[in-house]
């Protein structure tokens, strides 16, 4: 078949803090293939990719590019050697606009100065070539996550990457966007690009890749041609057991209404993001909200979590008007919130796991009487959470920022799915999380529903919505275009038509 374009031999990586992220990894990448890397959270995938990209230096081992042994000392060198990488966490400068972000480091010059016109032209050309729609002049802080992902991909392509590393690019994309991306990836391989692809969604891996390398606890479990492996086998190699992500739900008895929106329209001067939204969420119900990113989901959650959006219409939460609540009173009444952006709102990265686990309910008597905090109660609470969520760490005093992303997510979920929570707003609860962890989180959500909590589930992952929700709203352009009572009875095709605005219920 094709020849090896990139080869790693015996790569070991020990981080400064003593964590061994990669152990004697061998990896061979062939030209023009789509090579998937799979493994649990913290298995060492990103680390390995960063080594290929020159961002991290291996502690030991050899690196061959086009058959020649190479020292990949810097990102700059990697880019020059035709390697591009789209990182798992966005690598964008928020205050700069899209064009500036894409051209960062390769700014075209006119004399000594930047040539903004030429830059824009270059970006436009590439975006058109790959059929990406971009908002060129908006600061990155104002564009949606899906858009950010596209910006990242263009960033790599425009640098002429022949080997393109994509670290969980689909985690934030809708099924349609993912399909679009896959078309692009196929086209790229035809144009002579080689692709390294990381995902926790095994269906995607199976669909797109030519070969698969499985990594477990820093070591390779081997590389296999994709057609030789069933999804079940992959998950077995990865996690050591079968994971299906399909659930048999019991029929639930719905109870009192905890959250109700009546004719809510948002009031911003940059166009109304939400139009006439009405729904009611009852105890024992998981209400899914689906839609292509940027169609009002974030605004909805921002209003509910009191982050400044103002609105017309009425919102009642725990039977009272939302406006009469402070965040604190909402919290104390039993509101849980899993934020989409776990790093900025979900955790305090420099603090310990235990401190992160109690931030919403440290006032409670179980964590100490009056003004004092009861250390022991907190620690045993934390140990319990670590155990039941299988958070892999050194202990309850592990600094959260040093966990792998999947495990950070578990900390957030662990805190927000606490037994006191009556109403949970779960925004992308399993984003970036490995199969095993996703299954665990899904079970937690179902358990909460079982005990009578109400859950508003916002997700870009259609499988998640379909499997978990009792009822599902689809948002398009700030409006509810569909309201499915048994989401499982509707096909993915049908969902897609509503989400893309091709259809609208009642028309």
């Amino acid at each position: 078949m094709s020849k090896g374009i990139l080869e790693l031999k015996d790569i070991t990586k020990v981080y400064d803090n003593g964590i061994v992220a990669n152990k004697k990894i061998d990896l061979e990448i062939w030209e023009n293939e789509i090579h998937a890397i799979v493994g649990e959270n913290g298995a060492g995938k990103s680390t390995l990719m960063k080594i290929i990209f020159g961002m991290e230096q291996p502690t030991m081992g050899k690196y061959f590019l086009h058959g020649a042994e190479t020292q990949m000392n810097s990102v700059e060198q990697a880019i020059r050697s035709g390697i591009g990488m789209v990182h798992q966490h966005f690598m964008l400068v928020e205050s700069m606009d899209v064009v500036d972000n894409i051209m960062l480091g390769i700014e075209p010059k006119k004399g000594m100065l930047m040539d903004k016109k030429a830059a824009r032209k270059m970006v436009q050309d590439v975006a058109e070539k790959y059929r990406f729609q971009l908002n060129y002049d908006k600061p990155v802080s104002e564009i949606s996550i899906g858009m950010k992902q596209k910006v990242e991909i263009i960033k790599a392509l425009i640098r002429g990457a022949k080997i393109l590393i994509l670290d969980e690019p689909t985690a934030v994309l809708t099924p349609q966007e993912t399909q679009e991306l896959f078309v692009q990836l196929k086209m790229l391989t035809k144009l002579g690009h080689t692709i390294l692809f990381i995902s926790h969604k095994l269906k995607e891996v199976k669909e797109i890749s030519d070969r698969i390398t499985v990594i477990r606890k820093g070591e390779t479990r081997g590389t296999f041609p994709t057609e030789d492996l069933e999804i079940r086998e992959i998950s077995n190699l990865m996690v050591g057991r079968d994971v299906s992500l399909n659930y048999e739900k019991t029929r639930s008895q719905y109870g009192e209404v905890l959250l109700e929106m009546k004719n809510v329209t948002s009031k911003t001067d940059s166009g109304k993001m939400l139009k006439n939204i009405s729904f009611a969420l009852q105890r024992g119900m998981i209400l899914g909200v689906a839609g292509v990113e940027g169609n009002g989901q974030s605004e909805l959650v921002e209003i509910l979590t009191k982050r400044g959006e103002s609105y017309d219409g009425e919102i009642r939460i725990f039977k009272e008007r939302l406006k009469n609540h402070s965040i604190k009173s909402l919290r104390s009444r039993g509101l849980g919130y899993i934020p989409e952006d776990r790093m900025t709102q979900g955790i305090a990265a420099e603090e310990t796991i235990s401190d992160n686990l109690i931030s919403t309910r440290f006032h409670s008597r179980k964590f100490g009487k009056r003004a004092q905090l009861d250390k022991n109660a907190i620690l045993s609470y934390a140990d319990e959470a670590i155990r039941s969520y299988e958070i892999s760490c050194h202990g309850n005093d592990h600094i959260v920022g040093y966990l792998s992303g999947g495990n950070i997510q578990k900390v957030v979920v662990g805190r927000e799915c606490d037994e006191d929570v009556e109403l949970l707003i779960a925004e992308q609860p399993t984003r970036g999380v490995d199969l095993g962890a996703a299954e665990l989180i899904h079970h937690k959500l179902l358990d909460m529903r079982e005990r009578g909590a109400a859950i508003l589930l916002i997700s870009a992952d259609m499988n998640e919505i379909v499997e978990l929700s009792d009822r599902c709203l689809i948002l398009y352009d700030g409006e509810i275009v569909a309201d499915f009572h048994e989401p499982k009875n509707h096909s993915e095709q049908e969902f897609g038509e509503y989400m893309l605005g091709l259809k609208k219920q009642g028309e």
Binding site: T59, I347, A349, F362
Partner: protein, 339 residues
């Protein structure tokens, strides 16, 4: 270990300079390193010097812990010292109560002033750095005016206040030194702050606000209140520090320029990584090298400026996290291989 090496290198650099200057380099170095231990009185000097440093270090670490880059402790020390002196001059109270009143007056004022900075920061996001630097000058100017126009000792060359009443002065607790009861207060303050920050619910709110403000907000913590509160506490401690220094070490208010102790606080806080308990060690460390350097310049022929030069070098080397990292990395690697 690393600290020793850092001190060693700074000394090495200093040593070269000293070799060029001194007729008796060994004696100079000796005075610097072990001088403070050679006499009981010198050890007392170390403690005396450490007392205000503990207070200012503590105040600044609370602020830095909450990511408030507020340098206002300097001004609080100045005005707090003056207020304590005024209380000591104007009030007539019994010996046990007088200092307490003086210290409290200063502390409350400090809390109010810093509270204003905190309020502006929390409410309107006014830069606390600018505000606190400006407040330093303003408090200094106003303090000087009050001193000059209302409490000045007449018929003397230098500007100082009329004497503070005996009853208001802190008594010395170590015979043969000037170590005063302020040291006890300092140690208590450290433990109270440590408890407050790590074991109390309010302290937790403050820590989380500092660690990630938007996270704290969405967890239901009132971050504005936390910012104002921590500013006030820092002001309170700064006020105590200024008062204790003046009624502990002086018999009249004699500061005609900002004492520099607040800025030292930033130094201490950074050395202590903003941890209240570490503040004691950092303060003693800085006090020790200061006294050592003083002794060196006093007892030998090294110019006084060596004090500042050596201090600067030692602080730079000690705080270099990556200093000798190479060596540490090898250790880590070995350990990892063993596993």
């Amino acid at each position: 270990m690393r600290t020793l090496a850092a001190v060693g290198i700074a000394l090495g650099v200093g040593f070269v300079i000293i070799l060029l200057l001194s007729d008796n380099p060994m004696e100079s170095i000796f005075n610097f390193i072990v001088g403070p231990l050679t006499k009981f009185r010198y050890m007392g000097n170390v403690i005396e010097t450490a007392i205000p440093l503990i207070f200012s270090g503590l105040a600044v670490s609370l602020l830095f812990q909450t990511k408030l880059f507020n340098m206002g402790t300097e001004g609080i020390f100045y005005i707090g010292g003056l207020i304590a002196a005024i209380a000591g001059i104007t009030l007539t109270l019994p010996a046990g109560i007088h200092p307490v009143v003086a210290i409290l007056a200063s502390a409350v004022f400090g809390a109010l002033v810093m509270g204003i900075v905190g309020y502006f920061k929390a409410k309107w996001d006014v830069s606390e750095l600018v505000l606190s630097l400006m407040f330093n000058s303003i408090l200094y100017g106003v303090g000087l005016y009050i001193l000059n126009y209302y409490f000045r000792e007449e018929s003397t060359v230098v500007l100082k206040s009329v004497p503070i009443k005996e009853t208001a002065l802190l008594n010395d607790i170590l015979p043969g030194t000037k170590v005063h009861s302020g040291i006890l207060l300092a140690v208590v303050a450290v433990f109270v702050c440590d408890w407050f920050l790590n074991k109390s619910k309010l302290g937790y709110e403050i820590r989380m606000t500092g660690a990630n403000k938007s996270f704290a907000e969405y967890s239901g913590i009132n971050t504005k209140r936390a910012i104002i509160l921590v500013s006030m506490i820092a002001g309170f401690i700064g006020g105590i520090g200024g008062a204790v220094e003046v009624i502990g070490m002086y018999d009249a208010f004699k500061w005609v320029s900002l004492p520099g102790l607040g800025f030292d606080g930033a130094l201490i806080a950074m050395l202590a990584k903003n941890k209240p308990k570490n503040v004691i060690f950092s303060a003693f460390f800085l006090a020790y090298i200061r006294i050592g350097a003083d002794l060196m310049s006093r007892l030998t022929d090294i110019p006084a400026e060596m004090v500042g030069i050596m201090q600067g070098l030692i602080i730079l080397f000690i705080s270099g996290r990556m200093f000798l990292q190479f060596y540490r990395n090898r250790l880590i690697l070995k350990e990892a291989e063993v596993k």
